[in-house]
Amino acid sequence: MVKHLSLALVALASLASLGDAGPVTPPFDERDDDLAVTEADDDSPAFNMLGFQFASGELPIGSAHTLALSLGLTIEHPVWPKLRVVGEYDALWLVHRPTRDADATSMVLPPDRHTSGHRAGLAVRRELFGRGNSSARSFLDGELGASLALATDNFAGPQLVPAVFTGLRAGFDFYSPDDDSASRTLEVAMLLRAIAVSSGVGLALGVGLHWGN
């Protein structure tokens, strides 16, 4: 009998550990107000965002005019009401625009300088203005962050390019009325950034598309 009781206790203990597989996610309608779609007067919804953004601008790296193109993924996580932490990873291309020789009759062989690399950044983003309803919402965010790029230049070789940036981001959030939608939010945004590197300050203009969970 003791043997059978021990076997039962072991089985019941196994059941308890397997049953506790993780927190139970309640249906969307029953979730706390913090996770629900906002009303017009509520704070911005607190959920993670995953998306991409494409940016173009000029950076004072090497020469006076360097066109910087970037394409990357962005992850956003809420930490406080209206304040979010943003992680970015970009593929980076720098197109150098060398100055041509002033004497048009002398065909000087122009150097072909090109740079490509990777950039990782971390920023905080806070909503400055927001207005909308349960279907759509417009917003204006401010952001502040830093990034580190590893760029390979065919003239200078690999180099690290640290930068700090600040900017504005404006756009629209669209909310799905479908309870079965995997992502309840679709965000379209434009951004304008001032990026400071060791040799000066440049500007970047971009567009992004993000999905909230």
Partner: protein, 222 residues
């Protein structure tokens, strides 16, 4: 009697424990899965480097894909134009015509031809926004490995390629099912003609050992 009851309770507990096991990672009922089979046609532009020189072109692409839940495995092929411009020195340094000592007089030479690509890849459905049950806007992550073959007048180049990227597509979930997508990939290729991965004949130019380019395409799939 007690022993019989305890034995039955133990068996019942074990059965309940196995049925309480968590579901597989890919069994997510909220996502509309990729179709089992799909054919896609589209246009694609590319930009790479050959011997340190920028090369670009545009062409048509065809793809066949097999889907399983949030994963899609595809084979693709494309035929595109290819061309780049190279500055070629024109003999010794020259004086006169405003030229200074040490200047190299050069002229532009255009190289044009075809690029044939083929590869295998996969996609993962990362996000899906569905305002109703009929269509949705999706984000996927993609990668592929393949081979490039350049056929230019004075250069024949074969090299491998690796691409990582993402895509956005607008997909319908009811008949007629279809998707219109935009795909952007970062392209990695070796450029050094002395590399074991590169087969080059003709005017093979020296340059960087690898280059980062891009593929940008739009496809319509069924």
């Amino acid at each position: 009697m007690v022993a019989f009851t305890v034995r039955r309770l133990a068996i019942l507990a074990t059965v309940l424990a196995t049925t309480a096991a968590p579901a597989g990672a890919d069994e997510d009922p909220d996502y509309h899965e990729f179709p089992c089979r799909a054919l896609a046609l589209g246009i694609q532009g590319h930009g790479t480097r050959i011997g340190g020189q920028s090369e670009s072109g545009v062409g048509a692409t065809v793809e066949y894909a097999l889907g399983r839940e949030r994963w899609q495995y595809f084979v693709e092929s494309s035929l595109a134009t290819a061309g780049f411009t190279r500055w070629v020195p024109s003999g010794d340094a020259m004086f006169g015509s405003g030229g200074l000592a040490g200047d190299v007089v050069a002229h532009e030479v255009e190289h044009a031809g075809l690029l044939i690509r083929g590869g295998l890849g996969l996609r993962w459905l990362a996000r899906q926004f569905t305002p109703n049950g009929y269509f949705g806007m999706e984000l996927y992550l993609t990668s592929h490995v393949g081979v490039q073959r350049y056929q230019l007048a004075d250069l024949q180049l074969t090299r491998p390629e690796l691409a990582l990227g993402l895509g956005v597509q607008f997909r319908g979930y009811r008949r007629p099912r279809g998707a219109l997508g935009l795909d952007i990939r970062v392209l990695y290729t070796p450029s050094d003609p002395d590399s074991a991965l590169v087969a080059c004949s003709g005017d093979c130019m020296s340059g960087a050992t690898s280059g980062t380019g891009f593929l940008l395409g739009s496809t319509l799939s069924w």
